[in-house]
């Protein structure tokens, strides 16, 4: 039997009615992404790295006090206590009450006064291998500022032959929201795919799929109609998330809105396509939930380049590329922040298109109107 537009329309109509008849689900699918974006953006757009540290001051000189003052001056480093033994130091670090302990040895002030080098020691809680080096970097640059302030006292400034001049492009005010909000959209926009996967499993679970088997409906018609219905409803949440980003968070939108909407639709199609490809296995809603959670949701936080950038090598690249969220992070950030056109987004767009088409093709090819 051939693909019939008439049956397709009827199925589409049925699926829309299904979605709109259940207001709680509709609300969850349409409103939740916008709401979640509000919430997540507030959490992830952290502006400063705060660190708590304890001090072990064996010197007790004015220089030591000035050094600590310099460290804590801008409020990002907070001195939370003093220690005077190895055991105390160890207990604080083990309990996670401080990020590092700063040890100022005896002779610190005298050395500085005499213009000699003087060591200090910083013992960090190294468990978080991304955070600890960052904090130690801040400590180093604050210390360098203190050193040069002390060294230049009473000396005529000789000038340095070289300096670094930094220009921050695309986000000169360095607002965390600017990059974070578009980067979070793939996470919140995985809700339509979830609802879609659940709907497929639900029809099997509740037995209404049996009714469909008895009709002349084709697999392609059935799957495409359902996919189209959920993509259309998902576009509402795309728009809502865009409104939240632009009007609530005031994230600059440099690119073309039409391009953004088109590629967002492609992202929805890719996520939904992947769900349809595995749908024969998804017999229960519970299973569908797990699969969606693991394919779209958790990787969107950890593998997509949202926080930690993706490396361009071998397995690292591949373990990011197989998730649709990775590509939409690139697209959303590119269009929002840099105002990119399609010419510079060819790779992510092509991969998403491939995922959507391959997903649907696999689904149509393996679809069986059968009960097992």
């Amino acid at each position: 039997m051939r693909f019939s537009p008439r049956r397709f329309r009827a199925l589409l109509f049925k699926d829309f009615r299904h979605i709109f008849r259940d207001p709680r689900t509709l609300l969850l699918v349409m409103l939740a992404p916008g709401f979640l974006l509000l919430l997540l953006a507030n959490i992830f757009a952290v502006e400063a790295q705060q660190a708590r540290f304890a001090l072990w001051d064996l010197d007790r000189s004015t220089y030591a006090r000035r050094y600590v003052q310099q460290l804590t001056a801008d409020g990002d480093f907070t001195l939370t206590g003093h220690v005077s033994s190895d055991a105390e130091l160890e207990a604080l670090l083990r309990a996670g009450r401080v990020d590092f302990v700063l040890i100022i040895p005896r002779g610190f002030g005298n050395n500085l006064a005499a213009g000699r080098n003087t060591p200090v020691q910083a013992v960090f809680d190294g468990t978080d291998a991304l955070r600890a080096p960052q904090l130690s970097g801040y400590l180093l640059s604050r210390t360098a500022a203190f050193s040069s302030a002390v060294l230049l006292e009473g000396r005529s400034f000789s000038g340095m032959p070289l300096e670094l001049r930094v220009a921050v492009w695309y986000n000169p005010e360095r607002r965390a929201m600017t990059g974070m909000v578009p980067g979070l959209t793939p996470i919140v926009l995985s809700m339509p795919a979830l609802a879609f996967g659940l709907a497929l499993a639900r029809e099997r679970e509740l037995g209404s799929f049996e009714g469909l088997i008895a009709t002349p409906v084709q697999g392609a018609e059935y799957l495409l109609a359902k996919a189209l219905a959920y993509i259309s409803v998902g576009m509402d949440s795309v728009l809502l998330a865009w409104i939240v980003a632009v009007f609530w968070f005031r994230v600059p939108f440099e690119g073309a809105l039409l391009l953004y909407l088109a590629l967002a639709a492609l992202y929805l199609a890719a996520t939904i396509g992947m769900v349809t490809a595995i749908s024969p296995v998804l017999r229960t809603q519970q299973l569908a939930f797990f699969v969606v959670l693991i394919i779209f949701f958790v990787p969107a936080f950890f593998n997509s380049g949202l926080v930690v950038p993706i490396l361009d090598t071998g397995w690292d690249r591949l373990s990011a590329d197989i998730f649709p969220a990775t590509h939409f992070v690139e697209i959303a950030r590119g269009i929002f922040v840099k105002g990119l056109g399609l010419d510079l987004l060819v790779r992510p767009t092509a991969i998403l298109a491939l995922m959507a088409l391959a997903g649907l093709a696999i689904a149509v090819a393996t679809f069986r109107k059968r009960l097992t």
């Binding site: 709680r24 689900t25 969850l28 919430l39 997540l40 952290v46 502006e47 790295q49 670090l93 083990r94 996670g96 080098n117 060591p119 200090v120 020691q121 910083a122 960090f124 190294g126 468990t127 291998a129 991304l130 955070r131 080096p133 960052q134 130690s136 400590l139 360098a144 203190f146 050193s147 002390v150 000038g159 340095m160 032959p161 070289l162 300096e163 670094l164 001049r165 930094v166 220009a167 921050v168 492009w169 695309y170 360095r174 974070m180 809700m191 609802a195 509740l206 017999r283 809603q285 299973l287 797990f290 959670l293 693991i294 949701f297 958790v298 936080f301 950890f302 593998n303 926080v307 950038p309």
Partner: protein
Amino acid sequence: MNLATIWAIANKDLRQFLRDRTMVLFLILLPVMQLLLLVQATGRGALNVPIAVLDLDRSSDSRALIALLDASDSLNVTCFPETLEAGVRALEAGEVMGLFIIPQGLAANLANPIETMSVQFIIDGTSSLLTRIVEGAGQQVIQRFLMRRGGQPMGGVQVATLMRYNPSVQTRPYTIGAQLGFITYQVTLGVAALGLAREQELGTMEQLMVTPVRRSELLLGKVISPTLVGLFDFLLLSVVIVYIFDVPVRGSYPFLLACSVVFIAVEVIWGTMLSSLAGTQQQAILLVFIQAMVDIALSGYLVPVTDLPPVMGLIAQAVPLHHYLIIVRSVLLKGAGPVDLWPHLVGLVGIGLLISVVAMRAIARRLD
């Protein structure tokens, strides 16, 4: 309350669950697969941000500067554009996160300083976190370069940094430790959230109601089987991370296990409540999904709780996952025990009790 009745219900749920072979397979395979992928993606060593260098000087000095850039812990020079336009294009396309421009005359000015020369560093500001890292690394490279050339006045404070618990600063143990908590969390909540909703949707709830089973017995019975499933996944994953990924267990494993039982039970009770509030499984799942996003965001893994805005930081204290992740990581990696972790133990158990009472009441009302 009758223990036999409770066990009968738990047993029924467990059997029903084990009968679904695909589900059981997925519950064993998916978490392990997820762990592998996440470790692959986030478990690499140091952060290496790709940058481009436009060398307009082409001297031995500029080459020395480039070598220092490449040797920096967080930078990786991946591309040498011939022109400024090519460099900007690489930045725009996202191939590199920064463009480092070494001006013409660098070597001449270093040999015979007449002016302060600027090295331009254009940074892609999309992620403000990376911007800070890249900028800091750039500054350090310049300082190191000057120091090496002897152009910098000597003297001053020199920091010796020690990384306790993780001297070679590897991300792997931390990531894996956190993922153990996350995956246990997600399996537990997922299994629990569907229990009651499924019975309601398929109509078997009504059958349960007409049996002589009491509400409290039904509830306890319903909590037991997801707890066992969660515990099984925890045990499985902890074996995988210890024997395959060589994550150390520096603290007491029984203590960690006890905390895990408490955590899993709390999540199961909470999930069961969400499940009872929802009319259908679809609604239950969407509710759990939202809950999971909030929990993961506030768990302190991707964003440290101390960095959160005050209100959010306060809310994070009420998230059991936040306390649990700290406990898991501290026990595994730091060898911490109850004495070190008491605030988080109080948090986990206290919030857990509170959640349980609220949830039990909500469920009881719903069942009537």
